[in-house]
């Protein structure tokens, strides 16, 4: 009798578990569809002639694949310039914010000095100011420095946004690495910089990658400052190039979406390659061990 009761309870629990799993998968599927649909639609529109873009009922798969948007974008040298500029700015901001951010985070993580808490708090509070309010002051500073309409102006500007994040992230990650490592390396004759480069950084690779991905994305996707701080076509980046296709008298949907796909590809590929590290790095940096 008792064993029948236990069996019934087990079957019941199994059923419940199956339903729970089904619920989780259903929710995940719905969320995935919601997140992925805009990307699929972007690809779909890039492969359709404009008349089909607005056809009713809407179709995800084009009746006939139209490569005109891609041909136009890929054959136009100005779009290549936008891509190259975005790469230069993105990679420079990523490199500089990682180097400076890691050194600063190392200081915050491993040393106690007068005003360190205030300095850390200050770094975090810079993230709380809405960027739009900074546009005019930044504009003035960049013009004053003679960096208006240069890629240096954009790199410097994005660095001010990316650096606080890099410091906070790397500081969080370095805090999770036991100080015993440092002490052992110091006993073996390592200098403080040697400890950072030879001991801590190899262990902190996931944190470095997640920080790098974030800063690259920030620089790659930014539109407002890229538009305001550059002037000539030779200095424009991908987001500004895409906005150029929103004309006074209409939109070039196929070209705009084709360039959007081309502009999104590096980010998508990058994220897919390092996704494992990004998730690990974010969670490790977010929780102090």
């Amino acid at each position: 009798m008792a064993s029948t009761g236990i069996q019934a309870r087990m079957i019941n629990e199994e059923r419940q578990q199956r339903w729970r799993r089904f619920g989780i998968y259903a929710a995940l599927t719905i969320v995935t569809i919601i997140l992925v649909f805009p990307i699929l639609w972007m690809i779909s529109v890039s492969l359709k002639p404009t008349t089909e873009t607005f056809s009713l009922p809407p179709r995800l798969l084009p009746e006939e694949f139209h490569w005109g948007g891609y041909a136009k974008v890929l054959s136009d040298p100005k779009f290549r310039t936008f891509l190259i500029n975005s790469y230069i700015v993105g990679l420079a901001v990523t490199f500089l914010s990682l180097v400076i951010g890691t050194l600063a985070a190392f200081g915050f993580s491993r040393y106690r000095f007068f005003g360190d808490r205030v300095a850390k708090l200050f770094v975090i509070t810079t993230q709380m100011v809405p960027t739009i309010t900074l546009l005019i002051p930044y504009f003035g500073v960049i013009v004053f420095l003679g960096l208006y309409d240069t890629l240096w102006g954009l790199i410097l500007t994005y660095l001010t946004f990316a650096l606080p994040y890099s410091i906070v992230m790397m500081n969080g990650y370095l805090d999770t690495i036991p100080k015993d490592f440092d002490e052992a390396a110091t006993i073996d004759g390592c200098s403080p910089l040697g400890v950072l480069v030879r001991v801590l950084l190899p262990v902190a690779v996931p944190g470095i990658i997640s920080t790098a991905v974030y800063t690259f994305l920030l620089a790659w996707n930014e539109f407002l400052f890229a538009l305001a701080l550059t002037r000539s076509m030779e200095m424009r980046t991908v987001p500004v190039g895409i906005s150029m296709m929103v004309g006074e008298f209409g939109l070039k949907w196929d070209e705009m979406m084709a360039f959007s796909v081309i502009g999104s590809l590096p980010v998508l590929v990058l994220f897919m390659l390092v996704q494992r590290f990004v998730v690990g790095g974010l969670s490790a940096g977010g929780v102090k061990g």
């Binding site: 003035g140 240069t150 006074e248």
Partner: protein
């Protein structure tokens, strides 16, 4: 050696990423026209000008249309404004209040100009605060684009010419099948949609009405009320596509191209997008249906000179070049527009797109009208118009109440 290499690399990187500084005789031309052009015409235009004027170089600064107004204001505030400015007439008063524009009266009377001021399209030249502030590069008259296939399907042989025929045909087309409508009315508040200035004003001008008395708002006059009544009646009879309050000009154009609306009131320049994207559409363009008057709304690409420019004479040399009949005709053909210099009309006709020739023919003798440039706060004014017309189409207000509400809010805005 390593230090030397590092310095050399740093210098090379700095040189590659930093453009050369401004030189004497260099002017900047901020505009959005090149962003609308796919043929590379504007680069060639600048190259031709520089070849003809070796002492002046022109830097072409291109912004997307939706950002040009903000750019001009911001650049001026920071002190990096361009010398020659591409302008939209409704921005005039706002720019004058900030002191961005240079009066052009003296330049227009200079001997040796390549054009006569009397040959230019008149609308942008009208004096505000006693001066002329801009000259027309191109003019885009508003017309009505017609899907003749739907018109015939609804039982009519010819496009409408009067308001009565217009309302009747729109209603009949809407009745054909679900998803097909007589006309779309883009009354979205979402920028850069210009709402009523795209559809309401062309109908008002074809009714002989105006919204301004000089620089004073005059929205609650009988002609305005009649035009609002037309929209209200068409809406009630189902002639207007559903969702007017969220419809933008861009969506309106795409719906017409896709063959889902019978009529589209918009600049004639849209004809190239329509025929280019849907060659199978049985398409024609006509004058906006009139209630007895022959006046059309005109939009344009205007040129002005920045008051803070250090190279005003060079800037004028460039503007003068753009307005010469030969160059102006090329600019008009490149944009599929009417030329700002009417002396260029004959040249434009030669080899022009048939739809452009049709615009020239049907609008010959009609009066071009543009009033928003006199409005103290044009962008704010059309937002008010949009909101109140939305309320009317929702059934919250009568046309009389709508006109009175816009007038009251405009007066408040003007103060």
């Amino acid at each position: 050696m390593n230090k030397f290499r590092l310095s050399a690399w740093t210098f090379a990187a700095a040189t590659a990423l930093t453009p050369f500084t401004t030189q004497a005789g260099q002017i900047e031309w901020l505009q959005w026209f090149a962003a609308e052009d796919t043929s590379g015409y504007y680069d060639q235009l600048v190259a031709d000008f520089e070849a003809a004027h070796p002492d002046i170089t022109v830097k072409l600064v291109t912004q997307p249309f939706g950002k040009v107004r903000e750019s001009i204001v911001t650049d001026n505030a920071i002190g990096v404004g361009s010398d020659v400015l591409g302008l939209n007439m409704p921005w005039t008063k706002e720019f004058l209040d900030i002191g961005i524009l240079e009066p052009l009266d003296e330049y227009l009377t200079r001997e040796g100009n390549s054009f006569a001021a009397g040959d230019l399209v008149e609308a942008p030249l009208g004096k505000i605060e006693g001066h002329t502030w801009m000259v027309p590069l191109n003019a885009f008259p508003f017309v009505m684009h017609v899907n003749m296939g739907l018109v015939r399907q609804a039982g009519f042989e010819a496009p409408p010419t009067t308001w009565e025929e217009f309302a009747e045909q729109a209603k009949a087309i809407s009745a054909l099948e679900d998803g097909i409508s007589g006309i779309g009315m883009p009354f979205s508040s979402q920028p850069p949609s210009n709402g009523p200035i795209l559809t309401f004003l062309p109908l008002l001008y074809a009714n002989g009405g105006r919204i301004m008395d000089g620089s004073t708002p005059d929205f609650d006059n009988p002609k305005v009320v009649e035009t609002l009544q037309l929209l209200k009646d068409m809406q009630d009879e189902g002639g207007i596509a559903p969702g007017a309050a969220s419809r933008t000009g861009g969506v309106d154009l795409e719906e017409f191209i896709a063959g889902r609306t019978g009529f589209l009131i918009s600049p004639g320049v849209h004809s190239s997008a329509i025929t280019g994207r849907n060659a199978e559409l049985d398409y024609t363009l006509v004058r906006v249906p009139s209630n007895g008057e022959q006046a059309y709304r005109v939009h344009g690409w205007e040129l002005g000179i920045s008051a803070s420019s250090d190279n005003k004479d060079d800037a004028w040399t460039f503007v003068n070049y753009l307005l010469s009949p030969e160059v102006n005709a090329q600019a008009a053909q490149a944009a599929n527009a009417l030329p700002g210099n009417l002396k260029a009309l004959d040249v434009v006709r030669e080899g022009a797109d048939p739809t452009l020739i049709k615009q020239i023919d049907i609008l010959e003798g009609d009066t071009p009208v543009e009033e928003m440039r006199q409005s103290p706060k044009a962008a704010g004014s059309w937002a008010v118009m949009t909101e109140e017309i939305q309320a009317m189409l929702r059934g919250d207000k009568t046309p009389e109440e709508t006109a009175a509400a816009v007038q009251a809010r405009w007066l408040e805005l003007a103060q």
